[in-house]
């Protein structure tokens, strides 16, 4: 029974478009029809056949329904690009909307609504008016949806022409499908309007509930979803609705079932009788379970929703935990969701069985799933105190298998278990210590170190164990460094012997002098002060009893949960986010494709903080999330102004005196990011940013005097930093009158005063004047100012360098919000930032660019940039011998390809 349409895709030798044109104007009907099919085939594979517009539209006046539909399809696609010609079709549309055949009348109205050309919209009104009152329900149901289409194009027109009233009348239509579509249209219109348009009264409620029994499965979904906005007046009203909706739970269509569940859950809030509620819970369980035998994608949606439902009403599925056991062949996304629900349903009654399952999963192949299973065991231990011991013995069994990631994950959860049940399970510490050498993940390391510090007095060789970690202190990630610091202090307070004392000195030294991490340094100073002034107080602080934790991971806030439950079955319930978090209310711009993408990128929901307004100059706000404490030193300053100047020497490691102010210079340019807000600077506001001009790095800095007096004698000093950047001359700022501001370009030089540790682009700055205390602030620059003019590589040397670097040195990152609209413009833009173009190639529909850049000390970056023109998202791969600079590099690169 199969068709043979593929022949229409074959191309001819002669120019395609002229040939088609000829065929479209053929005198033979069949030939014309074939030609239109070829046009549609060409359109399908993405060829531009808009030039045939007139010829295709000429085929519109036909008795052949199939041909007519094809022409209409063509119109929907191209009317927008040819608005003036589209008007040619109007007459036929109007005529068709009065055709004796209802299929043609409906087709005309349906298609006209899809052509979003203003001129056509005007002509749509009269036919629509007629069709809304058509004798044939098929035409009416199509017209109902058409009102929603029209409202989307021109809301005013819909209201002026009284279509809303006509639509409301259709709710009383005798045909259930017309009712359903009218409801869908009204609900949609209501969504985009602030005025009440579609209010469900008890009268409409009755009508909708009646139509519910008779309309198609999809109509039932429309009606049920619109009912979810109805607020029942009292318990009886609610019970009445629930009674009418409950039979829908038996429907084969999962969307009907979930929408029914949504209504029942909402109305249950009002029902006071516990019997009724219990009974409803009982009725909802089987249909929810049945959803798990649907297609995996539907299972996933169901599981995400069940996750919400069990948070609200744990009793519904309390006895059904077995159905959430994972099948070996379940897709990973189904398994992960099942696991989450199993944790939620685990209870003292079923924990033994659940643990057996978790143990089984912890030995499967998929690493992510295994980790989640191990974590699940820990979460059950924290949740169920009577089962904690059994959970721990399972964890110990898993540790004994000695699979590295299992062990690390187990240690992380055991740390939480210790915090939940202090002084209960410490006997297992010895077993944990056996795995010490294999820990390579920061979180696991940090957890182990925490355990050693917390129980230092019970571990005989705690000092040796900690010491082994201390050797690598400077290279460790911040998370581990912080734990090491705290654990060493704990050890020292518990065992104040010679060994720990030496350790603590080494650590404090490391954490104050050698590090750039302000968090770590702050904590180290606090400990240092505490230990040197009052060791007893230090004990009280550091060894204080900790509050007991509970398992609240993955629990949603009650008000959010209620909002999500009102959105069951929708995207919101799948993402577990309220709709406004991912739906943009802004309407898309006119369909010029490039603009549309820019639009999608901007209005789209993005998880990272905004990247600054001006794409070419990354603002200092970008990426502050990873450097939260940036503001802290500055914030602390006004609180204790006195001791700070004294500390300045050792705190900042400044060797040279502050540079005095000389003659003033002024520059102008785009506004700079604020680094010291006036609230912190007692009226003085400082904005600054590193910039690169003609191969030279400057600190573009501006001062704004918001104090009551004159400020003068400005001096500036930079702390040691990754690149050894220092002031290349004195800061030139004139005395500032109240309300005045001044902006200057301070040339920067590279000194030998380079900080060690992981590279970062953080610049710690101290500024001083004659009237105020010293201000400290952190400025997070971007690596791209360091990209040198000498970064261009020859093609051959690029290739050699690329090959000579091991694959371990290759890193890649997605820039989901980046859009490349033109390759040439991008190349030009990048080379202006000293990222030089080397070669490009095309791979499928993607463009691959090869680029190079270089930062001081001759560190090269070999870049491969993959993107499709006009499509959001780019992939950036980079190879460099100095891999520690890679995160900084990506940070700098992303705003450049905005």
């Amino acid at each position: 029974m199969s068709g043979h349409d593929s022949k229409y895709f074959s191309t001819t030798k002669k120019g395609e478009i002229p040939e088609l044109k000829e065929e479209l104007n053929s005198q033979y009907k069949d030939k014309r029809k074939d030609a239109v099919k070829k046009v549609i085939a060409a359109m399908t594979v993405g060829k531009d056949v808009s030039s045939l517009f007139t010829d295709v539209v000429n085929c519109m006046q036909t008795e052949n329904l199939e041909l007519k539909k094809l022409v209409y399809l063509y119109l929907i696609n191209y009317a927008k690009s040819q608005p003036d010609l589209a008007i040619l079709a109007v007459n036929t549309f109007v005529k068709d909307s009065q055709d004796p055949n209802p299929l043609i009348r409906a087709l005309a109205v349906r298609t006209m609504g899809c052509i979003r050309v203003d001129k056509i919209t005007e002509y749509l009104c009269d036919p629509l008016q007629r069709c809304l009152k058509d004798d044939d329900p098929y035409v009416r149901k199509t017209a109902a949806i058409c009102v929603a289409k029209l409202y989307d194009i021109n809301a005013e027109l819909v209201e002026d022409r009284g279509f809303l009233e006509a639509l409301k009348d259709l709710i009383s239509d005798n045909n259930p499908m017309v009712v359903a579509n009218a409801v869908a249209a009204l609900a949609e219109i209501q969504e985009s309007s602030v005025r009440p348009i579609f209010e469900i009264t008890s009268h409409t409620l009755t009508k909708l509930l009646t139509a519910l029994n008779e309309c198609t499965e999809w109509g039932q979904v429309f009606i049920l979803d619109s009912l979810s906005r109805y607020k029942a007046t009292d318990a009886r009203d609610a019970e009445n609705i629930v009674e009418r909706v409950t039979p829908r739970l038996q429907h084969a269509n999962c969307a009907v079932v979930l929408s029914a569940v949504k209504i029942i859950l909402l109305q249950m809030e009002l029902i006071t009788s516990t019997d009724v509620v219990r009974n409803l819970c009982k009725k909802m369980a089987p249909p929810l379970v049945t959803l798990l035998s649907a297609e995996p994608e539907i299972q996933y949606v169901a599981l995400r929703n069940i996750n919400l439902i069990v948070q609200k009403r744990p009793t519904i599925l309390a006895h059904e935990i077995k159905v959430f056991f994972c099948k070996y062949n379940d897709p990973i996304y189904v398994k992960m969701e099942k696991l989450e629900i199993m944790i939620k349903l685990a209870s003292d009654r079923n924990i033994d069985q659940v643990l057996l399952e978790f143990k089984e999963y912890a030995t499967e192949v998929d690493v992510d799933f295994v980790r989640k299973a191990v974590r699940a065991i820990g979460r059950c231990a924290i949740k169920l105190d009577r089962a904690a011991e059994r959970c721990i013995s399972v964890l110990l069994e898993l540790i004994k298998i000695k699979v590295n990631y299992v062990v690390q994950e187990a240690i992380i959860v055991i740390k939480d278990i210790f915090r939940r049940y202090p002084n209960t399970y410490e006997s297992i510490i010895a077993t944990l210590c056996e795995s010490l050498d294999n820990l390579d993940e920061p979180e696991a390391k940090a957890s182990m170190i925490w355990i050693i510090g917390e129980y230092a007095e019970r571990i005989d060789n705690a000092d040796e164990l900690l010491e082994s970690f201390l050797e690598t202190f400077p290279e460790e990630p911040a998370l581990v460094q912080l734990q090491l610091l705290t654990a060493t202090v704990k050890l020292f307070l518990k065992k104040p012997t010679e060994g720990p004392q030496q350790m603590i000195q080494a650590v404090l030294n490391n954490a104050t002098v050698e590090t750039d991490n302000p968090d770590l340094r702050d904590r180290a100073y606090i400990y240092w002060r505490l230990l040197s002034t009052d060791p007893e107080a230090a004990k009280d602080v550091v060894l204080a009893e900790k509050p007991v934790i509970s398992d609240d991971s993955n629990q949603l806030d009650p008000s959010l949960l209620d909002e999500l439950l009102a959105n069951i079955s929708t995207l919101s319930s799948v993402y577990h986010k309220p709709p406004e978090a991912f739906v943009s209310r802004v309407k898309a711009a006119p369909r010029a494709d490039d603009e549309e993408f820019a639009d999608a990128g901007e209005t789209g929901y993005s998880e990272s903080p905004s990247q600054g307004v001006d794409g070419s100059s990354p603002s200092s706000s970008a990426g502050t999330s990873s450097h939260v404490p940036a503001k802290q030193p500055a914030a602390a300053a006004p609180a204790a102004p006195a001791p700070i100047p004294d500390l300045l020497g050792d705190l900042m490691g400044l060797d040279n005196a502050l540079v005095p102010v000389d003659e003033p210079t002024a520059t102008s340019g785009p506004p700079l990011p604020v680094v010291l807000p006036s609230t912190t600077g007692q009226g003085l506001q400082i904005s600054a940013q590193l910039v690169r001009r003609d191969g030279q790095i400057f600190y573009d800095i501006s001062f704004e005097n918001g104090t009551q007096g004159v400020l003068d004698g400005f001096m500036i000093q930079f702390n040691k930093n990754t690149f050894g950047l220092a002031a290349g001359g004195p800061l030139q700022v004139p005395p500032l009158q109240p309300g005045d501001s001044s902006r200057t370009l301070l040339p920067m030089v590279f000194s030998q005063n380079v900080s060690t540790g992981a590279p970062n682009s953080l610049l710690q700055v101290a500024v001083k004047n004659n009237q105020q205390p010293v201000w400290y602030f952190n400025d997070k620059g971007s690596l791209h100012v360091f990209f040198g003019e000498d970064g261009k590589m020859e093609r051959t040397s690029f290739l050699e360098a690329w090959k000579s670097l091991p694959d371990d040195n290759e890193f890649s990152k997605e820039f989901p919000n980046s859009v490349i609209n033109s390759i040439d413009a991008t190349i030009e833009h990048l080379s202006a930032s000293n990222v030089f173009f080397i070669a490009k190639r095309r791979n499928a529909n993607m463009d691959v660019l090869y680029l190079s850049a270089k930062i001081p000390r001759g560190i090269p970056f070999l870049i491969e940039l993959t993107a499709a023109v006009g499509v959001p998202g780019a992939k950036c791969a980079v190879k460099t011998p100095n891999r520690e600079y890679v995160p900084l590099f990506f940070e700098a690169m992303e705003p450049l390809i905005k």
Partner: protein, 438 residues
Amino acid sequence: MPVAASAIYFLNLRGDVLINRLYRDDVGGNMVDAFRMHIMQTKELGTCPVRQIGGCSFLYMRISNVYIVIVVSSNANVSCAFKFVVEAVALFKSYFGGTFDEDAIRNNFVLIYELLDEIMDFGYPQNLSPEILKLYITQEGVRSPFSSKPSDKPVPNATLQVTGAVGWRREGLVYKKNEVFLDIVESVNLLMSSKGNVLRCDVTGKILMKCFLSGMPDLKLGLNDKIGLEKEAQLKSRPAKSGKTIELDDVTFHQCVNLTRFNSEKTVSFVPPDGEFELMKYRITEGVNLPFRVLPTIKELGRTRMEINVKVKSVFGAKMFALGVVVKVPVPKQTAKTSFQTTSGKAKYNASIDSLVWKIRKFPGQTEATMSAEVELISTMGEKKLANRPPIQMEFQVPMFTASGLRVRFLKVWEKSGYNTVEWVRYITRAGSYEIRC
């Protein structure tokens, strides 16, 4: 908002657009490029069927060698969208004669465009019943068997049937012989621990119906389920007949079944569509009769040898038999050599799925069969392997057997002309995911 889609794309495995339809203006014309780049060409493919990129959400499913992608930008109804895709594929299959793949799409693109226009309007699913659509959407070469007229003349009351209360059946059908075929098809799912404890076990069954009935018949189906029987007894105020009854955990019905009536009277009454359809689905977890017991023993003899012994017992009636029994026993990747002994059937090593595959064509009830295998492994110095092996999996079908014990008690047909009907009932049980850990 019950909108299900702003656009729908059909892509082949390379990511070429086979056909697409934009229903709403709120997503860009080539959003599909974002899908290709961020999902198809990354490891993300298959890790989650709902993804957000930029301001749009992508919902996708793979069906044979085609990806079907729905794009939305509003808070759409996801279950509605996925169900729409499933139903649309069923519809296309019914039009193309059973297959749905890249070739079928290319060969029928005009028809698909026409159907896509009909089954969804502005993102709202409309009538997707093949039965009704075939009345007025036909193509040369693809004409439904009962339509002898040229496609340009639509059936006069087609539009009424699309929107009618019985939107799944057309009027005026006439058959010389009125027949109904019922197929009760069960799949039994099992997860058994290595010690032989049943961890999870359930049966999902469906009743497939093929109707060749004249006019507008009303049908009523009676099963041996407990609640239905009790209700019936209560209504007729007489004690329920003794005999085996079963408890259904859950049932779902085709849209033709009157749900309100089922809810109040527990009777399954309906006006069936013409031809073949799935009347109902049910699920049972209590009192499942497992057709097979599997007893594996696996011994590791040193680092390079394994001894595998699997005994399978059939526990259904001696007069019945199972067909197409396959037992798959997973073995390590580094398997080098295998040797087998079986009491019936044939076994071999299949390296592509790392399993020993033991096939028995016909397996009578109340018997048992064993396979012993010796497996030699290449010794490896490799990293520590996980203790666990994937479960043993089993396939089979047992005709005239239901794992749930479900029986059709009666099927009554009323039609105003009062004709006689012939009813045929078949039962079959298949393995769903029948897994035994080892």
